[in-house]
């Protein structure tokens, strides 16, 4: 079996004592990052990339560390959702709907353990799905030429914009902002600067890490200054933590179904994890019917979105690894990590650097087990982290961001640019403009333009070439549908309102 040979290769890379140690550190750190209110997975991974980079870890170790942080943060996110009713990021929103009421009934410990198990099931099934599906998709991806890639990037922006935003025009603006920023710098084919305004600092282009840290971490600081750090005190007490075997057993089918739904949603390029947890919750809600009690604090309402969320996170890795198109905000940040490590995701990654792909998959499996073992007995320690007051946390996060970016280049210019992105991020989020398309635009702009240019060179400037193959036409149709359909479905797919006290 080729699969097992590949897995053995992966575990051979990922199971050395040193990488295991990194995985444990990453899981611990990630859970804390996820648990801290206002520091979601994308945030946490973004701040840590520059620091990991300067530490000089090799590609596999860095990858193991950061994927553990990523998975850890997904786990940790549920702690603040359940105990504080504050979702660490968009997908965790669905967990607050039943998790917080359950915690208020005095079952906080049960909810935390149950969501941990659900996360484990979702992530494990998704990783298995990733192992089965990714190599097949990588083979299909070899059929992709420049026209298909251009349509694929477009599809990612369209579905992301369609799903993640309430206003299509704002999503388009966000994507264009990112793509426009990506164009700045020296053009690779002519060697001449483009759109730099004569500023020498801009000749290298704008580093996506600067943009990511600015848009996520620095913008968060302004939000906390606006709210004066209110809403981060703990309202629910957590006493004894036991393992609620009965709840775990009674939600087993929910977890399995939610994992399936989440995984499929995660695979869609651009749509990502929010859609996964949303669909998982909504489908379980309709299966349970009126008497299911969803929204009042039932175990199924906690298990479904958590399993869906984590399965979608695994599913989102499929397009990210095989096609280089991330399916969510956090996978976009992981793509940034791969690019920093000089690894280009895409079909060739599976044939040329199998040790990276399978090492990553093996480390996902390891991280998953470590997280489950760590989370059930140590949940009380992570809950303590929530007590860190915002007035220590936010200045700390800001200073870490500064040091991270400063250690990349040692230039004040990148720091000023980062502050600029922070201000931009504040206004964008205030105006309900999604920031993930901006990040995706900066990350993918160069590749998308490359695809378009190669298509135009091949066809001698004939735009019809972009629609010349069945795959390309299919992707264009999907892109248009993914962009337009949410406008009409918005009333049907209305998000349930968050629980208020």
């Amino acid at each position: 079996m080729e699969l097992f040979a590949n897995l053995a290769l992966g575990f051979g890379v990922a199971l050395s004592p040193y990488t295991l140690f990194l995985a444990v550190c990453g899981c611990f750190l990630g859970t804390i990052i996820g648990a801290l209110p206002g520091l979601g997975p994308s945030n946490g991974v973004a701040i840590l990339i520059p620091i990991t980079f300067t530490l000089g870890l090799d590609a596999t170790s860095a990858l193991v560390l950061m994927t553990s942080v990523y998975y850890g943060a997904m786990y940790g996110g549920r702690i603040s959702s359940i105990l504080l009713n504050i979702p660490g990021d968009e997908p965790a929103l669905m967990t607050t709907l039943d998790g917080y009421p359950m915690a208020k009934q005095g079952r906080a410990g049960d909810a935390l353990v149950l969501s941990g198990v659900a996360s484990f099931v979702g992530a494990l099934l998704a990783t298995i799905g990733l192992m089965l599906l990714a190599p097949t998709l990588a083979r299909v991806a070899f059929l992709f030429g420049p026209a298909e890639y251009f349509a694929l990037y477009l599809l990612a922006f369209c579905t992301l914009g369609g799903m993640a935003s309430n206003n299509q025009a704002k999503a388009v603006i966000a994507a264009c902002l990112g793509l426009g920023i990506a164009m700045i710098g020296v053009d690779s084919s002519s060697g001449l600067p483009r759109l730099t305004g004569g500023n020498l600092h801009l000749y290298d282009g704008i580093d996506f890490l600067v943009a990511i840290v600015g848009l996520f971490a620095i913008a968060e600081l302004f939000f906390f200054i606006e709210s004066h750090g209110k809403g981060s005190s703990i309202g629910v007490t957590l006493d004894k933590v036991r393992i609620p075997w009965k709840d775990i057993f009674s939600t087993k089918w929910t977890m399995l179904r939610a994992s399936g739904v989440g995984f499929v949603a995660g695979i869609l390029p651009g749509a990502g994890a929010s859609l996964g947890s949303f669909l998982a919750y909504m489908s379980e809600k309709s299966i349970a019917g009126e008497n299911g009690g969803f929204g009042t604090g039932v175990p199924k309402g906690v298990a479904a979105p958590e399993a869906g969320n984590n399965a979608a996170a695994g599913g989102a890795l499929v397009p990210m690894l095989t096609l280089g198109v991330p399916g969510s905000g956090t996978t976009a940040v992981l793509l940034a990590l791969l690019m920093t490590l000089n690894i280009t995701p895409g079909p060739t990654l599976f044939t040329e650097r199998p040790e990276v792909v399978w090492g990553l998959i093996a480390s996902l499996l390891i991280a998953n087990v470590v997280l489950l073992l760590m989370n059930v007995p140590m949940v009380k320690i992570f809950v303590r982290v929530l007590m860190v007051p915002a007035w220590i946390l936010l200045p700390g996060v800001t200073m870490i961001s500064f040091v991270g970016i400063y250690s990349l280049s040692g230039s004040y210019f990148d720091l000023l640019l980062m502050i600029g992105f922070g201000v931009l991020g504040y206004f964008l989020r205030k105006l309900d403009v999604p920031t993930v398309p901006v990040i995706l635009g900066i990350l993918l702009g160069g590749n998308m333009e490359d695809a378009l240019r190669r298509a135009m060179t091949l066809s001698d400037g004939d735009p019809i070439y972009l629609f010349s193959s069945p795959i390309a036409i299919g992707l264009w149709v999907a892109a248009v549908l993914g962009f337009i359909a949410p406008m009409f479905l918005r009333n049907v797919l209305k998000k349930p309102p968050a629980v208020t006290d």
Partner: protein
């Protein structure tokens, strides 16, 4: 309503300026006449269209903070900017104490705890970065002259700094 219209107008102006700049992109024999301009032109035009949609069909206004909060945030931006340029001439610890303390004060509104958290963060993070993680270009402190500090600060003043 108004915020989205203003935002749409800003984006529209930016997009038009971007398109104008894109038509001026230099090209040479290797890149061909048109290809380096094509994608920037497309992006600019699409953004301009979306901005027009926003101007004519704006969403309701968000809750903007009160004017006192705006001043607070402007102060925070200024503090961060000064921190960014002073990090090189003064080293890590002194600017971090001041910047972290001010930011902390802006969130908590209490003087004592903020000063302590500034001090604690500066020292704690320095030890973490320098000794635990071994980041090379973090320096504890540098002795510098007022002229050098002034040079650093002029970066922030348009048309004076270089």
């Amino acid at each position: 309503m108004a915020s989205d219209r203003i935002f749409g107008l800003i984006i529209l102006i930016t997009a038009v300026a971007y398109v104008a700049a894109a038509t001026q992109i230099q090209t040479n024999f290797f890149s061909g006449e048109f290809l380096p301009k094509l994608f920037p032109l497309l992006i600019g035009s699409v953004a301009a269209l979306a901005a027009l949609v926003l101007v004519f069909r704006p969403d309701p206004d968000p809750d903007w903070p009160a004017s006192a909060t705006w001043i607070n945030m402007a102060v925070a931006v200024a503090v961060l900017a000064v921190y960014a340029v002073l990090l090189t001439p003064l080293g890590f610890i002194a600017p971090t104490i001041v910047a972290a303390a001010i930011l902390s004060y802006q969130i908590s509104g209490r003087f004592g705890p903020s000063a302590l958290s500034g001090l604690g963060l500066a020292l704690g993070l320095f030890v973490l970065f320098k000794y635990a993680l071994g980041l090379g270009n973090i320096v504890a402190y540098r002795v510098t002259s007022p002229a050098k500090i002034w040079d650093a600060l002029t970066i922030l003043i348009p048309f004076v700094g270089k």
